[in-house]
Assembly symmetry: C2
């Protein structure tokens, strides 16, 4: 059973050395969304946070040896579903970015941790768990 | 350009009437992960929140008429990238669930908003934006 997605656009960023995680990034860049989806961006506004779902397009193929990996900030091999490694059973990534500006179908963002050319699969509103009655 | 993923497992839940959003859900169910990935769950623990990326497998095909949709709790047509509708350019969903128990390759969870049989694409740690220096 295969599930097929098509990019709705691509990340454009000027540098090659991209921070490893959006939480520790101040890097700015642009989400260039296909014109056909521009209307879907109508309610995205500067100052908002958005969730961007994307494809780790440069990740090597996954193998069972990678079910535990040692993250750069640790020396303990850790289960892949508890870490943010780009090498995963499905190379799907998620970042929370800060919207700076919208122009047509392009979204200027801060906190990038994606490489130039990264295929974007979806943009979603960022929902704070802490708003919830759970907390 | 197509991007292909394979399910790492499926959602099992006993009811058909599933809450619309994890934020307003207390529903319990099970993530049945394929045995081959069990080791990747080694550091997932009860009490944690996890991000589950999944396929909206029952969504109708997307069309340009759906670039703005009126959510159930609103009467204002809103751009698809600012709402949580399951009908999106790529039918990819994201929920933040609460882990109750792990047994082998199954994860018992609360806050489900996914239908029985939903294909799971990834599990990630939940990172609070509010931990960040931004706030």
């Amino acid at each position: 059973m295969n599930i097929e997605f098509k990019p709705i656009g691509f990340v454009r960023v000027d540098v090659e050395d991209v921070p490893r995680h959006w939480r520790r990034s101040e890097l700015e860049g642009t989400l260039v969304i296909n014109e056909e989806y521009a209307e879907g961006l109508a309610d995205v506004e500067p100052g908002q946070r958005i969730v961007v779902i994307f494809n780790f397009h440069e990740s090597p193929e996954f193998s069972s040896k990678l079910l535990r990996q040692t993250p750069p900030h640790s020396d303990v091999p850790t289960g892949v579903f508890s870490i943010c490694s780009p090498v995963r059973p499905n190379p799907v990534g998620m970042s929370v970015l800060e919207v700076l500006k919208i122009e047509g179908a392009t979204v200027r963002v801060r906190r990038l941790d994606m490489l130039d050319g990264t295929p974007i699969l979806d943009i979603k509103p960022h929902i704070e768990v802490r708003d919830d009655s759970l907390d």
